[in-house]
Amino acid sequence: MPLVYKELHRLARHYMFRESPGHTLQTSALVNEAYLRLVDAKNVNFKNRAHFFGVSAQLMRQILVDFARSRRSQKRGGDAQVISLEGALMVSPAPRSDLVALDDALKTLASIDPRRSRVVELRFFGGLSVEESAEVLRVSPETVMHDWKLAKAWLLRDLSVAKGKGNDA
């Protein structure tokens, strides 16, 4: 976990201090850097490029979801300490940015549609472009585009419905 913290904080500080929009180049460079460090590609034996991306995306997903989960459990903090926070409106993360809920939903999708859930994993967690994902999955870019659209719609619907049912504990 310390490595994740370090990398995420590196990135986060970047976002905190952006003064002007001309930072996108640095952003992607930083993201790539963080990505490589977190995934630590050197230690795994890769058969080919597609394999590498596939494994990295999975690893990244695991890392980020674990991270989000651990923070969530920290937030549901326990007994009153020295000062209590009364009457403050604590807003839990919106379903769209709740990584843990998203991961759960993605697992559900995977049970009926492994390929499309893979597309989400590659694109969202692995940061791959449409072309790169198409190469990894050995389908056409158009297929990836549609897979992506469909998966997003399904996930969004699943998350909205879950939130509506008050699933979030």
Binding site: S20, E33, R76, G78
Partner: protein, 963 residues
């Protein structure tokens, strides 16, 4: 929803999208052929399409980083909300550092500004720890032109800075309005420079001085805000400490990937990624002056890159400035910081109309006592120290290792105290030998990678310095080698067998090294064939001879003999050119860690540094007469060790470095009787003891705190709701929690009063801790509370009788009485559920075994005693635990197996033969068991990766004399 059905939905969805919106409905009707459910499904998904456009378009990694940066949505506070004594009134704005609110302090009845720190900072425990220390310094700043910091408050994972509320326009507003008259600017400048000079004198650098941070109040007072806060936002102290060179990190725009401060006011050295010092504030001051006087921005451009380029290259147009201030501003905006104005205190001296280039610069202000706590100041102290001894106060500071040290990775101070060498894994995953210059804080790795194969649990063996501090001796594969710290390849000295566990190098260039398969050997530092000096004696149950340390005569040396027989383990004196049979076999000092001999500046009497249960001790030793002088003295607590290698090192001139034992993280794991993993508890942490509550819904654990690894606290883990709450808030060690029989309270040991005492605290009702037992023993820890609630068993440790079993009766006057006190070690006392028997560990047989003895009232009223004991374990055992019904006893065998013994406790005690349940994982931490004896909670070592800092102390012997 089957996959096949879903695929149909998918195909229809895709096809539908190929029709334009108006035609879609018609298409779907036809394609679904009346299957309303199918059509409904597709249309529902299509409905979410639009919304889904922006969904997940940003990679997860960025999303999480942004959430961290913005501190998440969970910190939206309503006005009227209360935070302890503060009532939130209205938001004042959000900056790079979190949201700011106006609030009322009900205690002092004044309005303040509350700055909520984003969770990103509060999560970074090292940073928070540094900041808390820093906050004390900042809070002490008291000057009319400096915005005060009142304090730092924390609650429920929310951290707020309480600041002086300053209202009024900022200088940024002033600049926007246009050029200001010179006199007004000078008045503002005077107040700002007063503030800056005041803070600089107290060792505080602003680092983010800019017009937005400076306000003018109603009565014309200029206040500089946020002094010293930017500092703790930085990355590691030494930006070059990360050896992996990546294009992003060496890009001049970012320091460690981060822009610290506002580019437009950043000094050239900051723009280049160098650490900022007070001179950066001077630069910013110059820019601000310029902008106030001209009413326009000086270096600010459209993009950050352009801005920083301007800072580095552009020369300001001096003609825009009035003559009187030109010299001052020029001096401030000197791009070479060595030539820049250093001290604003004499600002007015530079307002001459005819500046002379040969003017003498004001003398640099002296460091104050506060400043020595900062690493930069410590460097200065070291510089002084190198030339002559400092005043007799010990100076202490911390250094982070570069890369990650695994638990047990070695380190050593050079004899001249100028370098700290250590082994650590770099970011490329390879273990390297690093050398850190303690003055310049520069760090470099000695060779491409540590040329040693994986040995001894993957821990790098200890290495040693040459007496002239120029070389390091270490093991390279199956050879002993030396390498110069200024560079160059390693030279092989001789062959070795097994692991070289330490060595020592004398002034005649003779090296003594420990070969763990045979004993100590000597060899010439120029290389050659080694000769055997000592040989491991199995008749004395010796296991290893390790970690030699030369004495001043260069002929004798101290070393550790490790033996399974405690009587034989300890420090011995050896000599060069003597045959193994003739080496002295009288133990000098009892310890289980390798000794380090430290000579003193005045002849003869030096110190032997060694560990005693995690405490670093110094034993005065007459090196000439080979005699101990007096009792050992405590030097530092919570110093870690790996088997016999203690995490401490000393130079010959009073520098000491040590690391605490927070290294090993464990994952608390549930195992079943077959040894299968059936669950985990919480996340990995540096746990060291734990206890399940009687109802098994809670786990009390003692762990090192993330924010201060020298500090252990008890936490309560709710096993049902998966939450964890801190239970003790000591600044010192709080360990070995034990639950009361009714599950309502917890007893634990704490060192808060200097010695370990036992305290009781309620687990459910917030309240104070009661001091329960003040023991005269050096160390006490509770082990078990009888089920009937009448007694507490605890272990006491002292010099003479070592570990003993003690009893604390809970009902009467609570006078403790010793239950079993012998010269052997008795510990881990556990009552049987019916309270008539006690299981415990004792090493009276020469090694730890489990015994059960009857517990009864003695003939003497009010006293208790143990009856005859029965030996339960065979071949070694420790950590006994009863099953809830008293019919089974568990313990850990010497080989790390979990054992089970069926017992009968009806009238007479009977025990069956121990049965092996399963092998515990290597390096395990013993935990607790479920009452039904079906599940076992064990700490499994988690992956190593330790960034515990080194504590370096200068002049450490003087701290001892002061006591």
């Amino acid at each position: 929803m089957t996959p096949e059905y879903w695929e149909r939905v998918a195909q229809l969805h895709r096809a539908a999208l190929q029709h334009c919106e108006t035609e879609r409905s018609g298409f779907l009707s036809a394609a679904c052929g009346g299957d309303e459910e199918l059509r409904g499904e597709v249309e529902s998904l299509l409905a979410y399409d639009k919304d889904a456009n922006g969904f997940m378009e940003e990679p997860a990694l960025e999303m999480v980083a942004k959430q961290l940066a913005e501190g998440q949505a969970s910190h939206t506070h309503r006005s009227g909300a209360k935070l302890g004594y503060f009532e939130i009134l209205e938001p004042l704005g959000a900056g790079g550092m979190g949201e700011v609110y106006r609030a009322r302090d009900s205690r002092l009845n004044r309005e303040v500004a509350l700055k909520f720190l984003p969770s990103m900072f509060t999560d970074d425990v090292e940073r928070m720890a540094r900041f808390r220390r820093e906050a004390q310094v900042l809070a002490s700043l008291n000057h009319p032109n400096v915005g005060s910091i009142y304090g730092l408050e924390e609650a429920n994972g929310v951290t707020v800075l309480v600041l002086e509320l300053v209202e009024g326009p900022t200088l940024a507003d002033c600049i926007d309005r246009g050029a200001m008259p010179v006199q007004q600017v000078l008045e503002i400048a005077r107040q700002v420079s007063d503030a800056v000079a005041y803070a600089h004198e107290r060792g505080v650098t602003h680092r983010d001085l800019k017009p937005a941070n400076i306000k003018i109040t109603n009565d014309g007072t200029v206040k500089v805000l946020d002094f010293g806060l930017a500092k703790f936002l930085d990355g590691p102290e030494d930006p070059r400490s990360d050896s992996s060179v990546s294009p992003v990190f060496t890009h001049p725009i970012t320091l460690d990937g981060l822009i610290v401060g506002t580019p437009a006011y950043m000094s050239p050295e900051q723009a280049k990624g160098l650490p900022a010092d007070k001179r950066a504030d001077i630069w910013a001051f110059g820019v601000i002056l310029y902008e106030l006087l001209t009413g326009s921005h000086l270096f600010r451009r459209d993009t950050a890159s352009d801005t920083l380029a301007a800072v580095l290259k552009d020369e300001p147009d001096w003609n825009k400035l009035p003559q009187t201030v030109r010299s001052l501003v020029e001096r401030c905006l000197e791009k070479d910081r060595k030539r820049r104005l250093r001290d604003l205190g004499d600002m007015h001296l530079l307002l001459e109309t005819t500046p002379t280039p040969a003017r003498k610069m004001p003398v640099w202000v002296a460091w104050s006592a506060v400043a020595v706590l900062l690493v930069a100041a410590a460097c200065l102290a070291l510089l002084n120290f190198r030339h002559k001894p400092l005043a007799a106060t010990p100076v202490q500071f911390q250094i982070s290792p570069s890369g990650t040290m695994s638990h047990g990775d070695p380190f050593a101070l050079s004899p001249d105290g100028r370098h700290l060498a250590f082994a650590a894994t770099g970011s490329d995953g390879r273990v390297k030998l690093w050398v850190r210059d303690l003055e310049s804080l520069e760090v470099r790795s000695l060779s491409d990678s540590y040329p040693v194969s994986v040995i001894r649990n993957r821990v790098v063996p200890p290495f040693f310095w040459s007496p002239d501090s120029r070389f390091i001796g270490f093991q390279a594969g199956l050879k002993l080698a030396k390498i110069g710290i200024s560079g160059g390849p390693a030279q092989m000295l001789c062959d070795v067998d097994g692991t070289v566990v330490g060595g020592s190098w004398n002034r005649e260039d003779v090296i003594v090294f420990a070969e763990n398969t045979s004993g100590l050997k000597q060899v010439s530092a120029a290389g050659g064939v080694p000769t055997q000096l000592t040989r491991i004696d199995s008749s004395r149950k010796e296991v290893a001879h390790v970690l030699p340390s030369f004495l001043p005569d260069g002929n004798h040396f101290l070393y550790l003999r490790a033996s399974s027989n405690r009587e034989n383990s300890g420090v011995y004196v050896g000599a060069l050119n003597v045959r193994p049979e003739e080496q002295d076999s009288n133990r000098l000092l009892e310890t289980t860690s390798g000794p380090v001999y430290v000579p003193s500046s005045d002849s003869g009497v030096g110190q032997i540094l060694f560990l005693r249960q995690g405490t670093l001790m110094a034993q005065p030793f007459d090196g000439d007469r080979m005699k101990l002088l007096g009792d050992p003295v405590r030097v530092a607590a919570q110093v870690g060790s790996f088997i016999d290698y203690g995490f401490f090192s000393a130079s010959n001139n009073g520098v000491l470095a040590y690391r605490s034992s927070a290294g090993q993280n464990y994952q608390l794991t549930w195992f079943d009787r077959q040894g299968k993993i059936v669950g985990t508890v919480a996340e990995p942490g540096a746990y060291n003891s734990m206890a399940l509550s009687p109802n098994e819904k809670f786990l009390a654990v003692s762990r090192t705190n993330p924010e201060s690894t020298a500090n252990w606290d008890v936490w309560l883990l709710d096993l049902v709701r998966y939450t964890s709450t801190r239970f003790t808030y000591d600044q010192v060690r709080a360990t070995f929690p034990v639950w009361s029989a009714d599950g309502k309270s917890i007893v634990f040991g704490s060192m808060r009063s200097g010695k370990v005492h036992l305290y009781l605290k309620s687990a459910s009702v917030p309240g104070d801790e009661q001091l329960w037992l003040k023991s005269t023993d050096a160390d006490v820890y509770a082990t078990n509370w009888s089920r009937d609630g009448r007694f507490l068993l605890y272990t006491g440790e002292n010099q003479d009788t070592r570990s003993d079993l003690w009893l604390l009766p809970l009902q009467s006057d609570r006078r403790p009485s010793p239950l079993l006190r012998t010269k052997f070690n008795e510990s881990s006392g556990q009552f049987s559920p019916d309270g008539h028997w006690i299981a415990y560990t004792s090493d009276e047989s020469g090694r730890d075994e489990i015994y059960v003895a009857e517990f009864s009232s003695a003939s003497v009223e009010g006293a208790w005693e143990l009856g005859n004991k029965s030996l339960i374990s065979k071949g070694g055992g420790s950590s006994p635990k009863w099953r809830g019904d008293g019919r089974e006893l568990f313990y850990v065998a010497a080989d790390g197996s979990l054992m089970s013994v069926e017992v009968k406790t009806k009238k007479v005690f009977e025990a069956g033969a121990p049965k092996r349940l399963f092998q515990l994982p290597a390096g395990f931490l013993a935990g607790d068991i479920s009452a039904n004896g079906n599940r076992f909670l064990i700490g499994v070592p988690a992956a190593p990766g330790d960034t515990t800092p080194f504590t370096v102390v200068l002049n450490w012997p003087t701290a001892l004399e002061a006591r």
